[in-house]
Assembly symmetry: C2
Homo-oligomer: 153 residues x 2
Amino acid sequence: MTENLTKPDAAEDDFELANFLPFLLNQAAEESSLAFQQVYKNRYGMLRTEWRVLFHLGMYGQMTAKEIGQRAKMHKTKVSRAVQRLAERRFLVRTRDAQDRRSEHLDLTPAGETAYRDLRGVARDYDIKLARHFTSGEVALLRAMLRQLAGIR
Amino acid sequence: MTENLTKPDAAEDDFELANFLPFLLNQAAEESSLAFQQVYKNRYGMLRTEWRVLFHLGMYGQMTAKEIGQRAKMHKTKVSRAVQRLAERRFLVRTRDAQDRRSEHLDLTPAGETAYRDLRGVARDYDIKLARHFTSGEVALLRAMLRQLAGIR
DNA sequence: GCGTAGTAGTTGATTTTGTAACTAACAATA
DNA sequence: TATTGTTAGTTACAAAATCAACTACTACGC
C-alpha cells in the first residue's frame, strides 16, 4: 500500500516520537525514580512530595515551606500537605517565625534526621548505580544538560 | 537564604540533592514538558495520556491499546481511559478484531490526523528549540543516555 | 490609626491517577 | 463439553494532584 497517500508528511519528516526530548525525559525520569520510590514508600510510607521535603530539610537545614517550594519547584499546596504529613509522623517540627508570624520554620526531628540519613545513603548508592552505565565525563555532561533543561541557573 | 549552616555531615558528604539523577531528570522532564503541555491542553483539551496515544497512532498507524501501552510504557487503565476520551471527542475510532474479539484496533479519524499533524509540528519546533542550547553531538549523547536510562534497548 | 494590597500557608471542590477486581473472550486439555 | 488458565480491556473505589478560594498576617499609603 502506498503509505504516502494517507500520511504524506510521515515519510518525509524526520521527527520521531522516541527522540522527542520531553517524552524521553519523562520516560527516563519515571523509570529511574521507580526503584528508589519503592524504598521511601515501603520503608517510611512516604510520598514523593514528602521525600523531597525531607531531603531539602536534611540537605540544607531549617527552611520555610516557601523556600522548599522555590527550590524544589513544588506548588505550595503540595508542600503544605507534605509538611503536614511529615509533622504528623513526627519527622519534622514547625516553629512560627517571631518577626513574621505567617511563616514557619521547619526542622527535622531526630527521627527525621535518621530517615534522611538512611534515604540519602540509598539515594547515593542508587545514583552511583545509575551512573555506572556511563563514563564520568558523560555523566557530568548529562547532569549539566539536565540542569540547564530544568532551568536551574 | 541561609545555606548549609546547620548540617555537619552535609559538608563531609559529596552527595548533593541537586545532582541526584532521578531528581534532576524529574525537574528537567517537568520543566521541558510544560510549554508543550500548554499547547495540547489549550488547543485540544487533551491530557498527557491522550496526547501520547494520539502520537503513537499518528506515528505508527493502527495499533491496539495493548501495543500502545507497551510502547509508551503506560498502564492499561491509563490507555483505556485516554482511548475512551479520544473516542468521545472523535479523534479516533475503534474496531474489534475479527479473529480475537477481545482486542480492538484503533485508528485516527481525519480530525485526529489533523490534530496529530498540528501537534507534531509544534513538537518538532519545540524539540529543536530545546536542542538549541547544546551542540548536536551533545544532544545525540543526551538522547542515547536517556534512552538507556528509560530502559529502551 | 484605617484602608488597601500583598504574602505564607491552609482548606475544599474537582480532576486525575493508581490498584484491584471485574467482564468477556480465547486456548488448552481432559 | 466442562475446567482451568490466560489475556484485552473496563470499572469501581481509594489515593493524590490541581486550582481556586480562603484565613491570618504584614506592609504600605494616607
